[in-house]
Amino acid sequence: MSNIPTELRYAKSHEWIRLEDDGTAYVGISEHAQDAMGDLVYVELPEVGDVFAASDETGVVESVKAASDIYAPVSGEIVAINEALADNPELVNQDCYGDGWLYRIKVTDKFELDELLSADEYSAEIDEEDED
């Protein structure tokens, strides 16, 4: 069973998002996603200052066998990126909800978070996927 923290919201494209008190949010990929990718060898992140709409492509995670796009779960401006991933992309595999965060985004519209999936809804999504 995949670890899916209940306090986070999830996109169907397997990103998680955690809203902070200051109106910014951390974004990463779920355990299901990092497990499917295999050992990451490279993470292409957006640049600080980049502005995205929800579901825009914001970067790429790359393993030996695959490369997957990372999508913005909500609209906003990038205020920080996880520089540690440049030399240690495996942090995403080791601690995808903590040290393996990808970027921090200033959320334009908090209500967009309501359109994302809860932990239960995301769990149901990936169960369906596994059945295919």
Binding site: Y42, E44, E47, E62, S63, V64, K65, A66, A67, D69
Partner: protein, 451 residues
């Protein structure tokens, strides 16, 4: 792994093993209306004897004349050992030899090739080659657009002193992808791209500047000034270079303060015969920081579980079989045989040998230019220093002169009428294979034609 075709008995026993009546039956899920019937518009096949005769006749068309044409493909001496080794079955018949378990020899050869080219160009990484210099330039343009994240304009600057066919190939490949190529004209007097002419573009958003060294006219550009100008205007530098010249000239990795970002060029001079136009190969190199945007195969060196050195494809997440439509290119192979020959050529000549070839080419072309310009009315068209080609201006139409020379079995040069509207000018080249006698015969013939 040798290739041994199946006999009808082999086929029959395999079909029996899987319980299928015929090979056709294995395709029965394809709807009948989609299957190709007879190809009526194709003529009947020819026998090996007929094909051989036909190809021999074609090859004869290009034989017999003494060649003073460069313009992107150069006649160099190829030591016999090069193709003696390259045509060995292990190299010659290898098909897409990227499977690490079965192709360590080929993979090592390609790795050595990459190492030599990276060293020659003073760049960090080389790929396993692309199809040719011209398409390599197109790939470099697309790569620069991906790599230069500061640029949003989808435009590049392209001097018209770059080979006309390279510019056309680049345009044909990139223009359908929304990329625009803006041309910068050369200084008419010097035959190079003046840095002052670039001032009109300063502060504008272009992803890259292309710099050819030598340029199409054989002239040497001020690569340091051009490189620094591009970098100070947030443009990447794409260098288009001649590999023989790199034995003498400053390599692109050392241009200006920071060096070129992407390097491409035609590898034909390195042991590949003219062959009536191909196959040739394009080399492509870049700085380490851009490697993930570089197309083409890349062979890496690593160790296996027992700690023994081995070679394998690396950084495959750039390529089609993983990235599909987002891959760095639709190219998923390399010019393996040509690259093998080039690697052997470079190994045999070594740095000293390559320098000697380059020096002789430079000297021979200067001798040719001097002899031709001693004829009344004939002169060098541009003032800049040249490597092994020079533009000669004639007192009459160059195409007529070249036709008259061809009738005397001398391929005198390449007319600049089509590419530049310079109808009295021709680009001439004398490599190390041209003798003093041949050069003197050319001068004598030209004097006769112009008399």
């Amino acid at each position: 792994m040798p290739y041994i075709p199946h006999t009808p008995d082999d086929v029959q026993s395999m079909l029996s093993a899987i319980g299928v009546a015929s090979i056709e039956d294995l395709f029965d899920e394809i709807p009948a209306h989609l299957k190709v019937a007879a190809l009526d518009k194709l003529p009947d096949g020819l026998s090996e004897m007929e094909v051989t005769a036909r190809m021999a006749a074609r090859a004869k068309q290009d034989e017999g004349a003494v060649c003073f044409i460069g313009a992107g493909a150069y006649e160099h001496h190829i030591p016999a050992a090069v193709w003696e080794i390259a045509t060995r079955g292990e190299y010659y018949t290898a098909y897409t030899p990227y499977q690490a378990e079965a192709s360590q020899g080929t993979l090592q050869t390609i790795y050595e090739y990459q190492s030599m080219i990276a060293h020659l160009t003073a760049m960090d990484v080389s790929n396993a080659s692309v199809y040719d210099g011209a398409s390599g330039l197109a790939e470099a343009v697309l790569m620069a657009l991906r790599a230069n994240r500061k640029s949003k304009s989808y435009r590049v600057l392209m001097p018209t002193a770059v080979h006309p066919l390279y510019r056309r190939a680049a345009h044909d490949i990139v223009s359908n992808q929304g990329v625009s190529i803006e041309e910068v004209t050369f200084c008419q007097q010097r035959g190079i791209t003046a840095v002052e002419a670039l001032d009109a573009y300063a502060g504008e958003d272009y992803a890259a500047l292309v710099i050819a060294q030598p340029n199409f006219f054989g002239s040497l550009e001020d690569v340091d000034a051009l490189t620094d100008w591009a970098h100070s205007n947030n443009m990447l530098v794409i260098a288009v270079v001649n590999p023989t010249s790199l034995a003498l000239l400053k390599p692109p990795g050392e241009w200006g303060e920071k060096g070129a970002d992407i390097v491409v060029g035609e590898g034909q001079p390195l042991g590949v015969p003219l062959s009536s136009g191909g196959p040739y190969f394009g080399f492509m190199c870049c700085k380490q920081q851009h490697v993930r945007q570089m197309p083409g195969r890349i062979i890496g060196r690593t160790v296996d579980l027992d700690g023994k050195t081995g070679f394998a494809l690396t950084l495959q997440a750039r390529e089609q079989h993983i990235r599909r439509s987002k891959a760095t290119s639709n190219i998923c192979t390399n010019q393996g045989l040509a690259v093998t020959a080039a690697t052997i050529y470079m190994s045999l000549l070594g740095a000293d040998g390559l320098e000697s070839v380059a020096g002789h080419c430079h000297a021979n072309t200067n001798l040719l230019a001097d002899k031709l310009c001693a004829i009344a009315g004939v002169k060098r068209r541009f003032s800049a220093v040249t490597f092994h080609e020079v533009v000669i201006e004639l007192p009459k139409d160059a195409s007529e002169v070249l036709a008259a020379l061809a009738a005397k079995n001398i391929l005198g040069g390449y007319s600049l009428a089509a590419g530049y509207g310079m109808s009295n000018a021709m680009l001439v080249c004398a490599t190390e294979v041209r003798t003093v006698e041949e050069i003197e015969q050319y001068a004598a013939a030209l004097a006769e034609v112009l008399a």
